[in-house]
Symmetry: C2
Subunit: 236 residues, 2 copies
DNA sequence: ATCAAAAACTGATATATATCATTTTTTTGC
DNA sequence: GCAAAAAAATGATATATATCAGTTTTTGAT
């Protein structure tokens, strides 16, 4: 079992910087002390589409896929949430059931901010609201770009896009660096780019043959960053 | 030239109800009096991807397609904005250039709320902020659903979805009613569902033969609402 | 009402990708 | 470290959809 070191929200990076950093001391403490911390193993479900929202989730450590289930078992990953990112905020704000599901893709620790505390913060701090708006705006901008890709780009291009995006967001500090690798199942990667896993695997194989990436078991290494960039941005 | 009757924002419906309805009298007047009104003919560009945002656009009358341009002339419509809806809000909030373009798809009247006025409102009214959050949340939820469709549904299903959605949102009061029709170019409809116009036209033809829709020139009539529902929701 | 320009439509063909079936390799839990 | 289970990889085939090239119809401006 993983040891969790004593932890302030200020250490969580991204979200602290955008969402919680402008809270006054009192508000910050209210939120920091009211949060519940939960540990999840790999492949555990955090919440389910259609379920009722109880609080806002914030990832302390690990990675979570956010996905929608299609009619016959097909799943589409709308995003992968990383350390410091919020989940389930839309359902809390609207009072509607979750529109997506969330499941861990590695061992993960998540903080849960109770609904009522979250609402107190939104009422008390305009900056907090602004930060939420910025967060949602970014998600939306990302969603717009992905719609364009899904509608008009080939699997090979979407794969190139996603590999770059994933490597960058999984390793924000050291990117680009060929020693780093992605550890994600082919199934999840296929569901992220919107293809079958067989097609994905075949194109990964091609890219390996072309020297663009390296493959060691599940691990994918980016070798030729520039070539991926080219593939991602050209239509033909 | 179209005659615009004297007009208060309260008559604009949707947006007034969500965004501006909670403003106090003073704030409401500030915003209502500072707005600039512009008339556009069909097929005029309102703003362009990459351009700098000057204000928030609100549709008084008409319809506007919001789209992204792909590399070789391909365009993807991310949404169609209707009366009372806001546009360009994301760029104003972030200070970034527009991430999408906007062009009218019929004669349209648009109100422009200057940037500084908009920011004054966001600073003064938490409810205004909340309303923006709800607005963005709805866009995001819609975007998630469309990603799923684009990634995993066939053109026929996406078409069924879009026809229902468009008819409903173009005619919210009288829907469903077979006398109503959609007046949208095949080109735009194809770019909305993410297909070529030829494929779209072929499938429209099939649906016509099956008695699901009627076609008179550019106009599309929904005849069998239930069948469309079935097509939209089943994978096979 | 007319006419040019734009859009809608049709047909033939090519191809990217899904699907199904099976084997090989890797991962995971004990 | 080992065995069972899961994932990855490979091959063959079917098909949805894009693309290209052309004709017909509709639209919209004068």
């Amino acid at each position: 079992m993983k040891q969790i070191p004593p932890h302030s929200c200020k250490e969580c990076g991204k979200t602290y910087e955008t969402i919680f950093s402008h809270l006054g001391e009192d508000d910050f403490n209210l939120f920091s002390e009211s949060k519940v911390v939960r540990q999840y193993k790999n492949r555990e479900i955090v919440f389910n589409e259609g379920g009722k929202a109880q609080g806002v989730y914030c990832i302390r450590e690990g990675k979570v896929k956010i996905y929608k289930n299609g009619v016959d078992g097909i799943e589409h990953i709308t995003r992968i949430a990383l350390q410091g990112e919020l989940m389930g905020i839309k359902a809390i704000l609207s009072g509607h059931p979750y529109s997506v599901s969330a499941a861990t893709i590695e061992d993960t620790v998540i903080c849960i901010i109770p609904k009522n505390v979250f609402f107190q913060l939104t009422l008390r701090s305009p900056q907090f609201n602004q930060a939420i708006i910025v967060f949602l705006s970014n998600l939306l901008e990302n969603a717009e770009a992905r719609m364009l890709s899904l509608a008009h780009k080939h699997v090979r291009q979407r794969l190139a896009e996603s590999l770059l995006f994933l490597l960058q967001s999984f390793n924000p500090v050291t990117f680009p660096n060929s020693k780093l690798y992605l550890n994600i199942t082919r199934h999840d990667l296929a569901n992220l780019i919107g293809s079958s896993s067989e097609t994905l695997i075949r194109i990964l194989g091609e890219m390996k043959d072309e020297g663009i990436i390296g493959i060691k078991g599940r691990k994918i290494f980016i070798l030729d960053h520039q070539k991926l960039d080219k593939i991602a941005s050209f239509i033909h």
